[in-house]
Subunit: 319 residues, 2 copies
């Protein structure tokens, strides 16, 4: 138990993940309302939009309107996602409001890279080399490598820790060539293949190879194991997690429509707080925001906790 | 890891839990179809109905019709639930088809006993004393003590391992007085208060006091932590779990309507099989039954896995 972190950092991705996948259209005003409410819960990192091609992702055609419209809290990092120079330039237009950071994004599954990006792994490495140079030339920090499908892939099957390490080696080579230092590795369970033993094995292998890097987990609840996987990560000392309020988002690669998305922020917060790990988040306030998210998207979200209420609320009533 | 069981026994409670809480009416034919499909997945214990007052639980007014109508598999134990002599006699009428066993059912929370049964704990102990004698007088085995609200209670707040041990002591006293031997203790997280550390603490205390008793876990996913809690139980060597296909059921004590019910059988099976723990269940067949359950109740069930598909299905496609 000595490995448990004292506190964790949560990167809330609900707005970006959620509004990307919902059929919508969801008014910019509702998106801004959700983001501002999230900032009021104590979350310090909120991914607010994607600067992507509006023809491909119509849910984020209003990215500029959302960023321009939101009232920023001084102690909150607002982040965004982009995949190319056009997107980066759109993000840089909000340099005063957004925390702009680049990442080297690779996948441990070549089959997924082909399916998702229509590129081979080698082509993707070349693209990331270019993108890293582009980021650095704009003065944008690149200190993170993200590995998608790090625990398994619907198109390739199981992924071994060795495949994760090799993918990361490619990422470190890109960084070294560009002259930038990697301080964080993010392992993503993009399609819900992780389970606790697989989390432990991958974290062990990555930590042994890069002991000085912080590791973050990006978990999906595709098959219902996300909280158990987060617990395995916490036990290994992991202190950075991506999550989405209400479990906003989904999985376009699942076998059926209606598959769950990311781990729910409020269930992650509950788990941590009950373990004595600080999150800085007011869980009751966050549950209210989860209910707001459900009202905005107009259908039930995967989070169980927003339907049940927090333990503290019942503790207060019972006292 | 040496504590991991090699195999687990799953008691499927989906039909009983699910059809009790659904507004319905659900035709007896559909209930029978679900039970027979469950028996085809490799599950060996299926709780098929409640013999309760049809005015209070209209969803089980057709208990007799369901038991009479189902074609029993020889290697499956079909069980039922009842709370009084009338119910027991209704169950005993199907002695040839049902596995009839009694239990001493107590709650670690006096507030819950009052809310749920309108009795004090002492009154409930007296009632259980009577019921145990009644069971034994009918030649019905009573070898199990069940403790509800063993990890916390919406009406009383946190429950300590000591409170669980004391509740069990009352149960063992009832058994000793009646001259019956207890071989199994079942701890129920009736309102979703458990988390892994609390599971470990309660199991440790109970096991230290009664090292020769098998312990079963009855987990609810009210706040999304059920799979993490099952994992904690498995790591402590627990090898008996109640669960419901698709997560059928619900929580009438939750803060809001729509709260989740028991841990999903298919997510428990996935977790175990991926850990190398045998369940005897064909997961792909079970996922199909979960989808059937969803069609029967006419709304989305909490199980994420039935929407995503099993890993093995994707492994076969990827190979």
């Amino acid at each position: 138990m000595s490995d448990l972190p004292q506190e964790i950092e949560i990167r809330e991705e609900g707005p970006r993940e959620g509004f990307q996948i919902e059929p919508g259209p969801i008014p910019s005003e509702a998106k801004i309302r959700l983001i501002e409410a999230l900032a009021g819960t104590g979350l310090h990192h909120i991914q607010v939009c994607s600067f992507v091609n509006p023809r491909l992702v119509p849910g984020w055609a209003d990215a500029e309107a959302v960023v321009a419209g939101l009232t920023a809290c001084p102690d909150v990092h607002y982040t965004a996602l982009w995949f190319n120079e056009t997107g980066l330039n759109r993000a840089l237009a909000f340099r005063d409001k957004l925390t702009i950071a680049g990442a080297i994004a690779l996948s441990a599954s070549e089959a997924f890279t082909r399916k998702n990006l229509n590129r081979s792994h080698a082509e993707n490495v070349a693209a990331m080399r270019k993108q890293t140079a582009l980021h650095l030339s704009h003065g944008v920090l690149v200190s993170r490598i993200g590995v998608m499908a790090a625990f398994g892939c619907n198109y390739q099957g199981d992924i071994t820790p060795l495949q994760v390490v090799r993918t990361l080696e490619d990422g470190f080579a890109i960084a070294a060539e560009a002259g930038t230092t990697i301080t964080e590795i993010s392992l993503a369970d993009t399609m819900g293949w992780a389970m606790p033993l697989r989390i432990e094995a991958a974290l062990g292998a990555v930590r042994e190879r890069w002991p000085d890097c912080r590791i973050a987990l990006h978990l999906h609840d595709t098959r219902g194991l996300a909280v158990a996987n987060a617990h395995a990560g916490l036990r290994m000392g992991i202190a950075r997690f991506d999550s989405t309020v209400g479990g906003l988002g989904g999985c376009p690669f699942a076998g059926q429509k209606g598959a769950a998305g990311n781990i729910c922020t409020e269930e992650l917060v509950l788990l941590c707080e009950e373990m004595g790990i600080r999150t800085g988040v007011d869980l009751d306030a966050l549950i209210e925001v989860g209910r707001m998210a459900e009202a905005i998207v107009g259908h039930q979200l995967p989070s169980e906790l927003i339907h049940a209420g927090s333990l503290d609320a019942f503790r207060r009533r019972a006292a």
